[in-house]
Symmetry: C4
Subunit: 126 residues, 4 copies
């Protein structure tokens, strides 16, 4: 009965390389799984000038949310570099909802942005 | 004739635990009810590491908006804790429109973010 | 051939009552009309505790954009009050695209937020 | 198999004319091309008080993202002026995903905003 989608897109990814002030610059991929079953979330990162970094996996348990820090993701020991523009494809083993937020604390005072990720309709199970 | 939806999703919820400066950190779930009839809005909160907090209710009268502070919500005396990542499911007794905004005043200067909540299409009456 | 919609919703409206620093707090309802014909945009404001303020009109010429300051709107001499939470229904005589942005300069440093307004699909001509 | 759209709309464009602090005010049109083929992205700018500036082209290679600075765009030697409200139509030769973000560094501390561009469904190949 869960109504989410299994493929979500975030074109504007960027891990700010610096922090000052009280908080740390970071991005979160926020996933809500309202179903009873665990969902595997696989993130692929695309870049401007190099091959994609595919297959960074996380589990979101049933009836739970996970606010995934992009800096915590890795695949085969590779991670998303800070200070580099990129984009994300979020592929899920079951239907979920995805929002993307960034806190930029490059300067002492913070800046925030957030978007609902773009849902690919009818993406079905992948 | 009201065209809204009855189920809306907000994956990135967070009540900033601190405020400084002139304004107070807060989140608002902004609901517009353009119909003539009152709508009951029921918010369920999902967490990363504990069971969901279900059934926090508010009324939005006909031809009115309500900008609901998440810190004002409760069910059976339980409230959403500050400083904890969570997600919301917004279930409505009639069709409405929902937007989510956060003011973070952790530092003296403010940061704002806002998203349209994710509408679950064809959610019908619940 | 224009593909926009004629009814757009903005649940979180708020005119910040104060400004400091170099810029002035304001909201903009940004409308793009890619057709050849002028479009009449009629904004209705809904409140938490009073009757709606209906019928604030603006023209957006063909192949033009207008970034409408909400504080400039009026109907029968009535305007949207600052410092009061409200919501907007944007009714258009032809298909357009609508985005909503707010600059909050309550404190010396600025905070920005923006959302695509919520399109009511199949709203047709009104 | 790429599921994006070929026509995306951004009603609120604005290049902040000033910068202070460590970062430079700018806007980015962030495009993700998950297909194997290069896509040509053509941006048309619409204004409040003058004729549109049509036909600013960029290439986004297959399996790459481009975060396009609007100040870098041009057609026939003409560019988008800073400090002027405008809107964008983003026409693509193949299906992609588009997000728009703005960093305003008018004051020493930064303000950020971001929206998913508005997808024109069924826009097909153009």
């Amino acid at each position: 009965m869960s109504k989410g989608e299994t493929l979500w897109i975030i074109p504007d990814g960027y891990i700010p390389p610096q922090s000052s002030g009280e908080l740390t610059s970071h991005e979160s991929v926020c996933v809500l799984n309202t179903s009873e079953k665990d969902v595997t979330v696989t993130i692929h990162a695309y870049f401007e000038d190099r091959e994609p970094l595919m297959g960074m996996e996380t589990i979101v348990p049933g009836r739970r949310t996970r606010h995934i820090r992009t800096s915590s993701l890795s695949a085969d020991g590779r991670t998303i570099p800070a200070g580099v523009p990129y984009a994300m494809e979020v592929v899920c083993s079951g239907p979920v909802y995805v929002q993307y937020s960034r806190l930029d604390a490059t300067q002492a005072e913070n800046a925030l942005m957030s978007v609902m990720a773009y849902p690919v309709k009818g993406s079905g199970s992948v």
